[in-house]
């Protein structure tokens, strides 16, 4: 179970955009076409490798419904990374991004890495938001952007890992005071990749996705 760093993620975005499915695809490598509405917050975890260092991701998948906002806001501050998800087939979920960002800026720490994900890119024929629009929005607000599909697993790994790589880079650059855990980053016991637990996911190298 040893890891070099532990990163806390949150997944936010409108209800029904596929947040829980992204998490399930990332942690369990499966897709559930019908997913129960998330109540409050659900938790998932996986180990990844970046720059040959084992990194533990703790991911909190939040409920998108408005009624849970007061609860989900409690998770912003302590998170190092956020996946902000919209549904490319539903324009309104894209339109709401600004308010989500505002929420994040208000409650999260300023150095939180935010990854914008246009989910359901397998449904190209029903596309309502173009890739360019997504890119444009990300650029304007300083986010990383990716289109992904929880169903086909396209870009799911990459999204989580690229976020982690960005955070890792920020650590290397000295942006964070890693001794302060309120940034959602924890330094592990061993920086060396040791014998890790059986449930740990496959590794991905930093070079592959962080260039």
């Amino acid at each position: 179970m040893s890891y070099a760093y532990l990163f806390k993620y949150i997944i936010i975005g409108d209800t029904g955009v596929g947040k829980s499915c992204l998490l399930l695809q990332f942690t369990d490598k499966r897709f559930q076409p019908v997913h129960d509405l998330t109540i409050g917050v659900e938790f998932g975890a996986r180990m990844i490798t970046i720059d040959n260092k084992p990194i533990k991701l703790q991911i909190w998948d939040t409920a998108g419904q408005e009624s849970f906002r007061s609860i989900t806001r409690s998770y912003y501050r302590g998170a190092a990374g956020a996946l902000l998800v919209y549904d490319i087939t539903r324009r309104e979920t894209f339109n709401h991004l600004a308010s989500w960002l505002e929420d994040a800026r208000q409650h999260a720490n300023a150095n939180m890495t935010i990854m914008l994900i246009g989910n359901k890119c397998d449904l190209a024929h029903r596309r309502a938001v173009s890739t360019e629009e997504g890119e444009q929005f990300a650029k304007e607000h300083g986010l990383i952007f990716m289109e992904a599909s929880a169903k086909t697993a396209q870009n799911v790994e990459e999204a989580f890992i690229k976020t982690a790589a960005t955070i890792y880079k920020k650590i290397q650059d000295g942006v964070f005071d890693v001794s302060n855990e309120s940034y959602g980053i924890k330094v592990g016991y061993g920086g060396i990749p040791g014998p890790s637990g059986g449930r740990d996911g496959p590794s991905a190298s930093a070079g592959g996705c962080c260039s």
């Binding site: 938790f43 975890a45 007061s70 409690s74 302590g78």
Partner: protein, 981 residues
């Protein structure tokens, strides 16, 4: 400098004290000691102590509090206002009346101080301290129960103040240590104020409201979590607050975990655990009673202890029924840390292990499984076994918790069961299987709690684990030597089976019987749902006889194990009635356990039933037990179920103990109605007991752990507690599996008994053909035969009638009971009996109906004929009557005429008369004239005759003679003459 150290030390002690008040431990003595210290401390600080106002009446306190509040809100001099607040705090902490007065008007004033005068640290500190005092009940004052609970009221009032929670949370960021400290205390007071003493629901709602409020404040919980990294005193307060906050609040639990609660808790445990010298905390209460010196001496350890317990409770709150948090702990921190806690010594540690078992949500089964698997992988079993079996130092409650945890871990998980069964304990050469050790605990322990916990292990082990059962059952072989004298404790070479048998047949003393009851419970786990083992044990018992015969030479014939069990059952009940009350308090449930064994054994196993019925007195005894009012509801009900099993699984025919005979006996001796009533009564009490236990398990907190401790360690005189305890024990003996078994059996029994009744065994078979006179049979013989047949039938009818009467009586008495459901059920069953008869009747009736229909058709045609006939007749009659009428009419008319004629009669008659007389006159005249003519003629003739006669005479002729014949002729002549005339 020294003063501040003393102060903080004292504060932490003070906080701990409040905690213990929450634990409901009697810490009055300590609190006095510390109060004295506090007084000392306050006076050295130069504060004003408002003892003066302790016994004033309320009105003066009202005005005094009002004046102080006025000084605080309107005072000009900062110093004066500070003094006022200090005075206020003093009086509020001393007098209940002042608390009430303060509650009525003080909150807005002090909250505005908190809101607007943050810069004046001393004011804020004073305001907070006053609020804390206002919310703390004055424990050493005698508060009568009907008096208003001022502290509770104030709690409610403060929580109603808008924004009070967010205001308080914002104070946690203040630099001043005391501000943070009092704020935390205030929040804790808000959360915890004596839930037991006012309406549960109201408090629950209130509790919930507060949790909600904290949730809605962004970073609210984050701030609280930060307090865990604060100075020790603050940290301890925050820990306490968090344990209350996380109770039954899933979202808060998750946020707390998100904020790194697990790491922090384990960190604290590590830190505190090191200095934990193995003080046995549950003796703290006792320490408190002894003297203040002891408190002083143990102070340091005392604090560590309490902090550790708080950590564990918080940990428990975070994991209990929270799958998300369980995953997080398992996936990111690992369960090692949890297990490492087990290695520490002390009470209550093991109850964190509830996590596996308490997650009852079926949807989370997968998670539960994984938890169990992981825990087993981590060799948690070894630690648990060490605690439960091998350690003498662990208190009973801890050993129990460890056993229960083992049970949870293996329940429904065959792999884990296998792991357990392959575990060996002890050191060479004294090695024995872990299960044997646990069995030894069952047979040997003096604590009912420990028995139940160990029994739970076997229950979990045997459930859905046929292989395990068979493995255990296979060891049930008689040892070649008699071991009744061998001490149980030392012999590790004893197999599971022989140890169990040894326990079963230990002897007839009270204590031995208790052991027997416990062994019976274990055996019933081994046998349940396992026909093979049941039958095996039946056969086996015959082998056993030799062994059994030895200690009991009085029994001449071989005795199956089952019979021995029944004997002990009888012994236990007779012993109970002999001892009367003294035993009822220390109930060890011997009868219940043995009955449970019997029920499990007999279930679905005809051979076992037959073995049971082999001894005739058994049924009689059971019947007595069922109707014996001095037995508990449960024993009666269970006995009734055994009786029922003798009916259901009875495959005997034509014997004195076949199903029919048993039902017959039951209905005669007890009455079927009251028989079912016994089962029902038990069911009700069982359901109740089950509810009770589920509640108990849910609220397994430190206080209940403490009370468990008390029960195990010392006598508890509290009767209600004892009662509660009994329920718990009973419901763990009669676990849900067993209750369901009984429920299923009950309906089967009902069905079967109805079945038996609706198909009574006929002594006389009525075959109509046999009733005919046989060929070659003379009349005398035939009559005799028929007579005999009739007699038989007659007696049978009598039989049936009497049975019918008893049934009717049952029905009637039950109907009087007023239990609707019961009535319905009984009527249902009697309906079933009737249905057969009715359907037969129905068939007959339909046949008859057909005949009747034909008859009816015939009759109808007849009717039609007759009707037409009748019509004709009627017509005739009508014409007749018409005729008659007309006749009558004419008659009437005639009569009328007659009448009228009668009336008109005289005039006409006169005429008639007149005419008549006229006519008569005329006729007379005519006649007269004719007469005259005739007379003239006559005269002429006479003269002629005279002349002629004279002549004749003259001539000589006899005239008379001549004339003799003329007389007649005269007429003729006359006629002739007339004719001629």
């Amino acid at each position: 400098m020294h003063d501040s150290v003393l102060g903080s030390r004292l504060l932490s002690l003070h906080g701990l004290l409040r905690r213990y008040a929450l634990c409901e431990l009697d810490m009055k003595k300590i609190s006095w000691i510390l109060l004295a210290k506090e007084i000392e401390h306050t006076t050295t600080n130069g504060g004003v102590f408002g003892l003066v106002f302790g016994n004033e009446n309320s009105s003066s306190e009202d005005s005094y509090v009002e004046r102080l509040l006025d000084r605080i809100s309107n005072g000009k001099l900062a110093e004066d206002r500070r003094n006022a607040i200090t005075e206020l705090q003093a009086i509020v902490s001393e007098s209940q009346a002042a608390q009430l007065a303060f509650g009525a008007m003080g909150f807005p004033v002090l909250l505005s101080v908190l809101r607007e005068e943050r810069d004046d640290v001393e004011m804020v500190r004073g305001a907070l301290e006053t609020l804390v005092s206002a919310l703390t009940s004055i424990s050493h004052a005698k508060v009568s129960s009907n008096e208003v609970q001022s502290a509770l009221m104030n709690t409610d009032l403060l929580s109603r103040e808008a924004e009070s929670i967010s205001l308080l949370l914002s104070l946690l960021t203040e630099d001043d240590f005391y501000v943070r400290y009092y704020t935390l205390q205030l929040l804790t007071a808000l959360l915890t104020n004596s839930p037991q003493r006012i309406l549960e629901s109201r408090i629950a709602k209130f509790h919930f409201r507060l949790q909600e409020a904290i949730l809605t404040i962004p970073r609210g919980i984050t701030r609280l979590m930060d307090m865990l990294m604060d100075r020790e005193v603050i940290r301890n307060e925050a820990l306490l607050l968090l344990t209350h906050l996380t109770r039954e609040a899933e979202e808060i639990q998750k946020i707390v975990v998100f904020e790194g609660a697990f790491e922090k808790i384990f960190g604290i445990i590590k830190e505190e655990g090191v200095s934990d010298g193995g003080v046995v905390v549950q003796h703290m209460a006792a320490v408190g009673h002894e003297s203040g010196n002891v408190v002083d001496a143990g102070e340091g350890q005392f604090i560590h202890r309490v902090v550790l317990e708080d950590c564990l409770e918080l940990l428990n709150n975070l994991l209990r029924s929270n799958a998300s948090n369980q995953v997080l702990l398992r996936e990111t921190i690992g369960l090692d840390s949890l297990i490492s806690i087990l290695k520490l010594r002390g009470s209550g540690y093991t109850f964190t292990q509830q996590k596996g078992g308490s997650d009852t949500d079926p949807g989370k089964d997968l998670n539960k499984q994984t938890n169990k698997k992981t825990l087993i992988q981590k060799k948690v079993l070894d630690h648990l076994l060490m605690i439960s079996v091998e350690s003498q130092w662990a208190p009973v409650a801890v050993r129990c918790a460890a056993l229960r945890c083992i049970g949870d871990l293996i329940a429904g998980d065959s792999k884990n069961c296998d792991v357990l069964s392959s575990k060996f304990l002890g050191e060479e050469p004294q090695v024995e299987p872990a299960l044997n050790s646990i069995l030894r605990i069952i047979l040997r322990t003096s604590s009912m709690q420990e028995f139940i916990a160990a029994d739970f292990v076997f229950k979990s082990f045997c459930e859905k684990n046929v292989d395990g059962q068979s493995m255990l059952a296979s060891t049930l072989i008689p040892q070649p030597f008699c071991m009744n004298d061998a001490p149980l404790e030392e012999d590790v070479n004893m197999s599971f089976g022989s140890m169990l048998l040894h326990g079963l047949t230990l002897g007839e003393n009270d204590g031995d019987l208790e052991v027997c009851g416990r062994a019976a419970s274990v055996l019933s786990h081994v046998l349940k749902n396992n026909l093979h083992s049941k039958e095996r044990l039946l056969k086996f018992s015959l082998v056993l006889r030799i062994e059994i015969e030895a200690p009991v030479p009085s029994i001449g014939s071989p005795e199956p194990l089952m019979h021995r069990m029944v004997k002990y059952l009888a012994l236990a009940s007779s012993m109970k009635s002999k001892d009367g009350k003294s035993r009822s308090s220390g109930n060890s449930y011997i009868q219940e356990n043995i009955l449970k064994l019997l029920i499990t054994w007999l279930a679905d196993c005809p051979d076992a039933v037959h073995c049971f019925l082999d001894a005739h007195p058994h049924i009689t005894y059971l019947l007595e037990l069922v109707s014996n009012l001095s037995e508990t509801v449960c024993v009666r009900g269970l006995a009734a179920v055994v009786l029922g099993e003798c009916v259901i699984y009875n495959k005997l025919t034509d014997s004195a103990t076949d199903a029919f005979a048993i039902v017959d006996m039951t209905s005669k001796k007890i009455g079927l109605g009251s028989y079912f009533l016994k089962i029902e009564e038990m069911q009700k009490s069982l359901v109740f007991a089950n509810l009770e236990s589920s509640l108990n398990r849910k609220s397994f907190t430190r206080s209940s752990a403490a009370s468990m401790e008390d029960i195990a360690d010392s006598d508890i005189n509290d009767l209600s507690e004892q009662k509660n305890m009994n329920h718990t024990i009973l419901s763990s003996i009669l676990d849900s599996y067993f209750v369901n078994l009984v429920k299923g059996l009950e309906s089967d029994i009902r069905e079967q008994i109805v079945e038996v009744f609706s198909h009574p065994k006929m002594k006389v078979a009525a075959v109509p053909a046999e009733l005919e006179q046989k060929i070659g049979e003379n009349d005398l013989e035939y009559t005799k035969r028929l007579k005999a047949f009739l007699e038989k039938q007659c007696s049978e009818i009598q039989d049936l009638l009497s049975r019918n009467a008893t049934l009717a009586e049952d029905l009637a008495t039950k109907g009087g009971g007023g239990n609707f459901q019961l009535e319905q059920r009984v009527s249902e069953s009697s309906d079933k009996v009737q249905i057969n008869a009715l359907s037969r009747d129905l068939q007959e009736a339909t046949k008859r109906l057909e005949i009747l229909k034909a008859e009816k058709a015939e009759a109808e045609s007849d009717t039609r004929k007759y009707r037409s006939l009748a019509e004709k007749m009627e017509a005739d009659l009508r014409s007749l009557s018409d005729a008659y009428n007309s006749l009558e009419q004419s008659n009437i008319e005639l009569e009328k005429q007659v009448h009228s004629m009668k009336n008109g009669g005289p005039s006409t008659f006169l005429d008639v008369d007149a005419i008549k007389s006229e006519a008569r006159e005329e006729a007379q005249k005519e006649n007269e004239s004719e007469l005259n003519d005739l007379l003239v003629c006559l005269g002429q003739e006479q003269s002629k005759v005279d002349k002629l006669s004279a002549r004749l005479l003259e001539l000589g002729e006899d005239v008379d003679k001549l004339l003799e014949g003329v007389g007649d002729d005269v007429g003729n002549v006359e006629d002739e003459e007339e004719d001629t005339e």
